[in-house]
């Protein structure tokens, strides 16, 4: 395939044999509308819910006859959203860094050297399948012994280590896309083996590393079960935990819950938009082996 020769994919604007201009325009508009609509309407709906009065929500008056701004400040009063958000960002961010630091060398080694005939990779990846609910208990005991429970740092470590299989899987595909000729060329130029790794390979893998880091970040950021068990105080609890608290109440305040959820979604979405090129490339190349 032609793409194998190009380590980093470039976006090429392609020309097409264009059908009649007008129908193309209409059709394009139609496609856009559907795409935009379908992908975003539940979130837009949540946005509307966050501005809807509770009685209207419960009676199912949609679109709501009157809007209210009160859900947002009340949500922040009910649950320390900002603090939870900070904890989430820290735990997920530091976790992503940990994951990448551990996974990158291993991905390189597995891709280039087919350790155990490739079985090591499969084993590592298959560990991701099992439901994590039981793993929480032994991990909790271990982390408590290390004094890492009830802290964002501890949570970051858990997330960082737990996502290693996913990162290795993604990155291994990336490494394979870096042609070995480039490494050989660098060697010919006199690079030592470590210089080789650092300068050449990592540079070429950079988009993949960023993508893997982002994906691991997202997985940790949205994680609920471990966070609930490992953290007990506001100082270390994360946003998913906070949002879960809205649900058990005697009168579930959906408007506030929507506001809290959207607050959590916004920073991640902004970051992803900003980094979307790498993210998407990571998704594409990581799995396509």
């Amino acid at each position: 395939m032609a793409s194998a020769a190009v380590p980093v994919k470039r976006e090429v604007a392609r020309e097409r044999t264009a059908p009649h201009l007008k129908s193309a325009f209409v059709a394009r508009g139609f496609v856009w509308l559907w795409l935009v609509g379908f992908a975003t309407f539940p979130i837009l709906y949540l946005l509307i819910v966050s501005f809807t009065r509770q009685p209207d929500l419960l009676a199912g008056n949609f679109p709501p006859p009157t809007l209210t701004l009160l859900n947002w400040p009340r949500a922040f009063q009910s649950v320390p959203i900002i603090e939870y958000l900070q904890n989430s960002l820290t735990a997920a961010g530091v976790g992503a860094v940990i994951t990448v630091v551990i996974a990158v060398p291993a991905a390189y080694a597995m891709a280039r050297f087919k350790l155990w005939g490739g079985r090591l990779l499969s084993i590592v990846v298959s560990t991701y399948i099992a439901p994590p609910v039981l793993a929480v208990f032994p991990l909790f005991y271990m982390f408590r012994a290390a004094g890492l429970t009830n802290s964002e740092v501890g949570l970051a470590v858990v997330y960082g280590l737990a996502n290693v299989p996913v990162a290795v899987w993604l990155l291994e595909g990336f490494v394979r896309r870096v042609p070995i000729e480039i490494e050989e060329a660098a060697l010919v130029d006199g690079a030592s083996s470590y210089q080789l790794l650092w300068k050449v390979v990592f540079r070429l893998m950079a988009p993949g590393i960023v993508a893997a880091a982002i994906i691991c970040f997202i997985l940790s950021y949205n994680e609920l079960l471990v966070a609930q068990f490992f953290t007990t105080s506001t100082a270390s609890q994360t946003l998913p935990v906070g949002i879960s608290l809205f649900q058990g109440d005697r009168q579930v305040q959906f408007g506030q819950m929507a506001a809290a959820s959207l607050t959590g979604l916004i920073p991640v979405y902004m970051a992803a938009v900003f980094l979307q090129r790498w993210l998407v490339e990571g998704l594409e190349q990581g799995a396509l082996k």
Partner: protein, 296 residues
């Protein structure tokens, strides 16, 4: 190991050591713990109380028990949602590839469902599908129904409602990955086909699809794995109901461990589930490997 630069055989293993260490701590130890639990009569409060041999496994595999149904429904859910996602995603990717020049805005919008926490997805869809919710209202306004449909507590609907939420969340992943694949295809092939007078559909069928088979296989595998892990949607939308219609294995294990606190049984169910998923995935992985081999 003929890599020119790295002469010592141990180097690659050294590089992998942190990962291997992580896997041991995070997977092997919990696995051993789970295995030990599964052969003991344990409750959360009093783990490892006594040896019960395989009675937990017997319960986990008991056909009269709901656990078997949970396993089956997990498999059904995974395959159904994957099929829908891949078909829809492929169609969307093809259409987008045809209409869209620069991919950036498309990618940005498609990221939104992917980034939303599954619990939030569940809440949003639960509200949408509520008896008094907007979807029921719309259907009523359009005259399609006369009385509301209880999407989350009536029999065929509940499963499909959860599936819908899942498909909504993950189809963008399929679209993004296949769209990129399509973009990477060289123009020459299409020009040649057009020169030969191939119609659009013929082009797609004979040329485009074979080129992206690898991509399709890869994304299918990924989506399947993700679907087996699905938990939040059921937890938030239906609690396994109505009755047990949306009861999946991951939810069953959660309940067994954290609502009835029979962690010995939960451990047995976990092991059974892992074995089942591995077995089910084998043909899928084989297909994917064959597709890869044919191309590379």
């Amino acid at each position: 190991m003929n890599h020119p630069a790295i002469r010592q055989r141990s180097r690659p293993w050294l590089l992998s050591a942190p990962t291997i260490g992580t896997v041991i701590v995070f997977t092997v130890i919990p696995l051993l713990y789970t295995a030990a639990l599964s052969v003991s009569g344990s409750t959360l409060g009093q783990p490892f109380r006594d040896w019960v041999g395989f009675s937990n496994f017997a319960k986990a595999l008991d056909p009269t028990n709901v656990a078997i149904r949970a396993l089956w429904q997990s498999v059904a859910f995974a395959f159904v949602t994957t099929l829908c996602s891949v078909v829809l995603g492929l169609a969307t990717a093809l259409i987008l590839d045809h209409f869209v020049r620069q991919g950036n805005i498309v990618r940005t919008l498609l990221l939104l469902p992917l980034l939303t926490p599954p619990a939030t997805v569940g809440v949003a869809w639960r509200l949408l599908l509520d008896n008094n919710g907007p979807i029921n209202q719309l259907l009523a306004d359009l005259g399609i129904i006369t009385s509301h449909i209880s999407f989350l507590s009536e029999s065929p609907w509940a499963f499909w409602s959860v599936a819908l939420a899942d498909v909504w969340q993950w189809t963008p992943l399929v679209v993004l990955m296949l769209f990129a694949e399509l973009r990477a295809l060289p123009r020459e092939i299409f020009e040649a086909a057009a020169a030969d007078g191939a119609s659009r559909l013929q082009t797609i069928w004979h040329i485009t699809l074979p080129q992206i088979t690898v991509g399709i296989a890869a994304v299918t595998t990924l989506k399947l794995i993700l679907s087996f892990r699905m938990f939040d949607l059921v937890y938030v939308m239906t609690a396994g109901g109505p009755g047990f219609d949306t009861y999946t294995a991951s939810y069953d294990i959660y309940r067994t461990a954290l609502e009835t606190f029979d962690i010995g049984l939960a451990a047995a169910k976990t092991l059974v589930f892992v074995v089942l998923v591995s077995v089910v995935m084998l043909p899928v992985v084989k297909l994917r490997d064959r597709a890869v081999q044919r191309v590379y």
